[in-house]
Each structure stands twice: as structure tokens, then as C-alpha cells.
């Protein structure tokens, strides 16, 4: 089998070599660089999209946070209002109860006072009666004679009345 010279120049071989290089260039461009580049672009798109959606989600979270905070503040206000209202109501009720209790107590005290007065008066009249009787008896015994009962009574009454006045 023949061999070519170590240093030989052949135009056709040079042209074939140029074509080989160009063919490999096209192959690399089409089957290595293009798919990888497409993939990288796809990846970039995915990254961009996820960043965008993360931003969106963040914005939504912020707005809903604000909304909830507002709602929470409103709830606080409402609760305070309810509490104060309840307090007022309770106050009013208690006031009413206390007032009615006072009235009742006053009533009871007044009645007791009236009862006591009545008793006192009863006792007074009884005492008066007894004193009259006792004095009648005493005077009978002292005088040894019976005074006219009516005169006697009159006398004693006036005496006691004077006594009471002097005592007071």
C-alpha cells in the first residue's frame, strides 16, 4: 500500500479539511450549543417566573396582613365597646338594686319607728293608768276615805301631765 509524502500539499485535501472543520462547527452549533442554550433560556424563564410569583405572593401576604391587622384593631374596639356597655348596664342595675334596697330599708325602719312609738304610747297610757290606780289606792289609804273616783282621776291626770312637762 502506498503512502503519501511526509510533506505534501494537495489542494483537494486542503478543501476537504476546510469542509470538515465547517461541518464540525455546524454540528457543534446545532447539536450542542443550541440545545444547551435553549435549556439555559428555559431555566432563566423558570427562575424569572418563580421570582415574579414570589414577589406577587409577598405582595398578597402584605396586603392580607394589613387587612387582618385592621380587622383585629376593629375587633379590639368592638370588644372595648361591648365591655364598657356591659359595665354601664351592670352599674345601672346595681344602682337600681341598691336604691330599691335603700327604699325598702327606709320603709322598714320607718315602720319599726312607728311601731315603737305606738308601743311607747301604749306603755305610757298603761303606766298612766297604773299610776292612777296606784295613787288612788295610796291616797285612799292616806286619806282613809274614798275620793270621788272621777275627781280623783282628774287630779291625778293633771298632776302627771305637769310631771311629764316638768320632766321633759
Amino acid at each position: 500500500m502506498q503512502s503519501s509524502e511526509v510533506i505534501s500539499i494537495n489542494i483537494w485535501q486542503i478543501i476537504i479539511s476546510i469542509c470538515n472543520l465547517l461541518i464540525l462547527f455546524i454540528l457543534l452549533k446545532k447539536f450542542l450549543y443550541k440545545p444547551v442554550q435553549n435549556m439555559l433560556k428555559q431555566r432563566q424563564d423558570i427562575i424569572d417566573k418563580s421570582i415574579e410569583s414570589a414577589k406577587q405572593a409577598d405582595k398578597e401576604a402584605q396586603s392580607s396582613k394589613k387587612l387582618y391587622e385592621e380587622k383585629l384593631r376593629g375587633a379590639d374596639d368592638e370588644a372595648a365597646e361591648i365591655i364598657s356597655e356591659a359595665k354601664n348596664k351592670a352599674q345601672r342595675k346595681s344602682d337600681k338594686i341598691v336604691a330599691s334596697a335603700k327604699d325598702k330599708a327606709d320603709d322598714i325602719v320607718n315602720r319599726a319607728k312607728a311601731d315603737a312609738e305606738l308601743e311607747v304610747r301604749k306603755a305610757q297610757s298603761q303606766i298612766k293608768h297604773e299610776i292612777t290606780e296606784v295613787s288612788t289606792l295610796l291616797s285612799e289609804k292616806i286619806l282613809e276615805r274614798e275620793i270621788n273616783s272621777d275627781d280623783h282621776k282628774k287630779l291625778i291626770d293633771s298632776f302627771i301631765e305637769n310631771l311629764g312637762e316638768n320632766d321633759d
Binding site: S8, Q13, I16, L24, L28, F31, Y33, V36, I46
Partner: protein
């Protein structure tokens, strides 16, 4: 996408692509075994001619360097298909990380050395690197490296020269012609020589490095065989014929010449391509021209 990656079909396609990637190399090795006669002594010669086609100007011999170039192209094509098989934007595999890293690196290299205007040159520079590196690495499987054929490397250098000239002419042909008379008019012949020297030096540097590597390897191997038969020739039978001294040193030389030198030359060729094209392109003048065109419209 993700569950698809573990399916039997996906793995079958993977295996098929790997097979198709390796098959051309095996085909090349079979061609080599079938068509190469047993070596007789030291022979330093060019690539073997399989057959010759009659063409105008010069007959076209189809040689090992052509066939091996095609083998590299087909293998690289299936390697690309294998690497981009199952690309996913969300679930990258190991091989995808490698591909992305490689592509990022070539893009960065190109934009660092050539500027933003030449960003689309990344696949071209990658093609030069890949073709040159894999061609040189073919020696590892015992095949003839196409890069040690002057015609192959010369073709690449010529293409680069055409690109250099094309970008120099971007500001008009007159501007290109004028650039030879700079900085002083009488330097024109030197500039012309320098212009032509660019592709020639590129071609000869690459071709010479690879060829000299294989020549040195052959010479060292032959010398070691001679030395071995001188020292151990007296031993009886098989022991006398076995070249003991060929163990070791040729492997070290192969690591240097086949792997290191091949990859280095690929890198150098790609770097020079980038630098020559970028430095020949009058970027400032071209921007001014674009501005003037925009203003006139």
C-alpha cells in the same frame, strides 16, 4: 422529564449513542489493521492512501488523515447527541453539568479574548479545539493523527486566514489595503509577508509539533529495540528477541507527545485563531462607520 430519565427507553438510547460514538473508532482501527502491512524497520512516512480519485488540477488521494478526520467528526457528533440527551432545565444530570461547564468555559474564553462583538464565535473556536484535540488523541488508539498531515492543518489555517481577512475588510476594501501601509509606507512589504506568515506559521507549528512527536517516538522506540537486542541478544530463544528496554520510556513519551502536546497544540491553535481574528478587526473604525451609517439614514 425526570421519571423518563430512568426508563428503559432512555437508557437504551444512551447505550445506542455510546455505541455509535465508539463504532467509528473501532472501524478506523479495523481499517488500520487490514490495510497496514507489517512494518519493516524504521519508516517515517505520511498517511496511507486508500484510493485515489481523479480530479482536475490534482488527483485526490483519500488517505488515512481524511478518513480519521471523518471518524472524529462522526464520533464527536454522537458525543454531542449523548451529552445533550435528556437535557432538563430543572433536573440537571452529571453529564449536563459537564456540558454546561464546557460551554460556559468556551464562551468565557472567547469573550475574554475577542470581545463581545465575536460572541457568536464560541462554537467555531470549540470546533477547532475539539477537532484538533481529538485528532491528536487518535494516536492513543494507534490511529494516524490527521493533525500530523500538513494538508489538514493547512486547511484550518487557511480558513482562519480567510476569516481574518474578512473581518479586516469589514470597514471596506480600501481601509484594508491602507492598513498595510501602517505605521510607515515603506514597511508595506514586511506587512505583506507578515500577513502571509500568519497562516503558514499556524499550520506548520501545529503540524510540526504533532509530526515531530510521532517521529521522536518512532526513533526512540527503534533505538531502544536496537539497544535491547545488543544487550540481551545473547540470551537464548524468546528472551533474546524480546525488546525489554522498550518497556517504560515509550509510555512516558506517549503521555507527553500524544496527550500533553496534542491538547496544548489544540489550545494554542484556538488561542491564535481568536487573537488573530480579534486583533485584525478594526473595532473602533467599524463602530465609527456604523455610527456614520446610522446618521446618514
Amino acid at each position: 422529564m425526570n421519571e423518563n430519565r430512568y426508563s428503559a427507553k432512555f437508557k437504551a438510547v444512551d447505550a445506542l449513542l455510546i455505541t455509535l460514538m465508539i463504532l467509528p473508532i473501532i472501524f478506523g482501527m479495523m481499517l488500520y489493521v487490514l490495510f497496514t502491512p507489517p512494518a519493516e524497520g524504521i519508516a517515517i512516512e505520511g498517511s496511507r492512501i486508500f484510493f485515489t480519485i481523479n480530479m482536475p488540477l490534482q488527483p485526490l488521494p483519500i488517505t488515512e488523515s481524511q478518513v480519521n478526520s471523518w471518524i472524529v467528526i462522526v464520533s464527536v457528533f454522537f458525543l454531542c447527541l449523548y451529552l445533550t440527551h435528556g437535557l432538563s432545565a430543572t433536573h440537571p444530570t452529571k453529564r449536563q453539568h459537564i456540558v454546561e461547564w464546557g460551554i460556559e468555559q468556551t464562551k468565557k474564553l472567547v469573550s475574554d479574548n475577542m470581545g463581545e462583538f465575536f460572541d457568536s464565535f464560541a462554537p467555531f473556536v470549540a470546533a477547532i479545539m475539539v477537532l484538533s484535540a481529538f485528532s491528536s488523541l487518535l494516536t492513543l488508539v494507534g490511529l494516524y493523527p490527521p493533525t500530523s498531515d500538513l494538508n489538514v492543518v493547512g486547511g484550518w489555517a487557511l480558513l482562519v486566514f480567510v476569516l481574518i481577512t474578512y473581518y479586516k475588510c469589514k470597514c471596506g476594501f480600501l481601509h484594508y489595503v491602507k492598513s498595510f501601509a501602517e505605521p510607515v509606507a515603506f514597511l508595506t512589504p514586511l506587512n505583506l509577508i507578515g500577513e502571509i506568515a500568519t497562516p503558514v506559521s499556524m499550520a506548520f507549528r501545529h503540524y510540526g509539533n504533532i509530526l515531530s512527536g510521532s517521529v521522536i517516538s518512532v526513533l526512540v522506540a527503534a533505538a531502544l529495540q536496537t539497544l535491547s537486542s545488543m544487550i540481551f541478544g545473547r540470551l537464548p530463544g524468546f528472551l533474546g528477541e524480546f525488546p525489554f528496554l522498550q518497556i517504560g520510556l515509550p509510555a512516558v513519551l506517549s503521555v507527553y507527545f500524544d496527550i500533553f502536546s496534542g491538547l496544548l497544540q489544540a489550545f494554542i491553535f484556538a488561542m491564535l485563531t481568536m487573537l488573530y481574528i480579534a486583533s485584525g478587526f478594526p473595532e473602533e473604525d467599524y463602530k465609527e462607520k456604523l455610527k456614520r451609517q446610522a446618521a446618514s439614514h
